[in-house]
Amino acid sequence: MPLRILVADDHPVVRHGLRTLLGRHDDWEIVDEAQDGVEAVEKADRLRPDVVVLDLSMPRMNGLEACRLIRKNVPESEILIVTQHNSPQMVREAFNADARGYVVKSEVGRDLVAAVDAVSQHRSFGRL
């Protein structure tokens, strides 16, 4: 069974980029994309992905709020935050919101695949 991933980011170009990077892995499938937090929560409810790759700064509902809701509604979905924000406070807030992993966008080339791999096995990824 492929690993099923939902990608949520408000920038279509970034979603393309995430698709390209994650698509290199044979056993991973992007089941859908969301362009804001509300859509991410709805699609996670409906599709029940293994991993949700979630941006923090999104319209309608930000990533932290979406993270809390997805973890509450679909506890089997693990959340990987992928964001440009790299302050320790943000990392802490993400983990407090029950995210399993945290990757800064500038480091995706190095960290994204390893992070998805880790959180899919319910292991944490990122600094606390």
Binding site: V14, L18, P59, K105
Partner: protein, 231 residues
């Protein structure tokens, strides 16, 4: 022969996304990628692209300063500027620098292919969200004054624009000198000239000026709201 495109953005995710978008177009190839404006200028010299797509907000040398250098290096080159802001000043500076296209990053998935097609046919392209009136205002002003220079900005030389960005990014005069292959003394002279021209007396004021004038872009985390800064 394929259309050769160089893409420059400091975010790998954006470069991957742009590459995926453009490579799906038959007859186009990505000949090189760059992480900042300086690398874009160097790689354009090596790889001779037909089109360069440049993010405005890049470290070391921003996209507007890079556009000026690229156009000086190869006047026939078609440069498309990508930006997160549709501010009047950025648009004006991009046009002034010689860009043939202007695309908002948020619209890039929809507009970038059309923009490349346009510049390929020697036309210009502006993302629809760039307000027509801003453009009309710019053109009017140019007709009236005979210049494209923003009246708000003191005249800085291209070298001074490079120096101000590096200083605003926190680099010392010595680091500026090393990056630009200058002596430390020359870098310090540029620094004094910039401060004199701008009428400012501290690096803090210089940073404020650089932010206000889109020479560097600062992204502030938004904890509770949805305001999405750059990709």
């Amino acid at each position: 022969m394929k259309l050769r495109i160089l893409i420059a953005d400091d975010h790998e995710l954006v470069r991957r996304g742009l590459a995926a978008l453009l490579q799906s177009h038959e007859g186009w190839e990505i000949c090189a990628e760059a992480k900042d404006g300086r690398e874009a200028v160097d790689k354009a010299r090596q790889h001779k692209p037909d089109v360069v797509i440049l993010d405005v907000g890049m470290p070391n040398l921003n996209g507007l300063a890079a556009t000026r250098q690229l156009m000086q290096q190869e006047p026939e080159l078609k440069v498309i500027v990508l930006t997160i802001t549709d501010s009047d000043q950025v648009i004006r500076e991009a046009l002034d620098a010689g860009a043939r296209g202007f695309v908002l990053k948020s619209d890039a998935a929809r507009d970038l292919v059309t923009a490349v097609e346009a510049v390929q046919r020697n036309r210009m392209f502006f993302t629809p969200r760039v307000n027509d009136m801003v453009l009309a205002g710019f053109l009017d002003r140019r007709e009236n004054t005979g210049t494209t220079e923003s009246p708000k900005l003191p005249k800085l030389t291209p070298r001074e624009r490079e120096v101000i960005q590096l200083l605003a990014e926190g680099k010392s005069s010595k680091e500026v000198a090393s990056l630009l292959n200058l002596s430390t003394k020359t870098a310090e002279t540029h620094r004094s000239n910039i401060m004199r021209k701008l009428g400012i007396h501290s690096i803090r004021d210089l940073v404020v000026y650089a932010v206000k004038n889109d020479i560097i872009q600062v992204q502030v985390p938004s904890r509770t709201t949805a305001e999405g800064p750059a990709a």
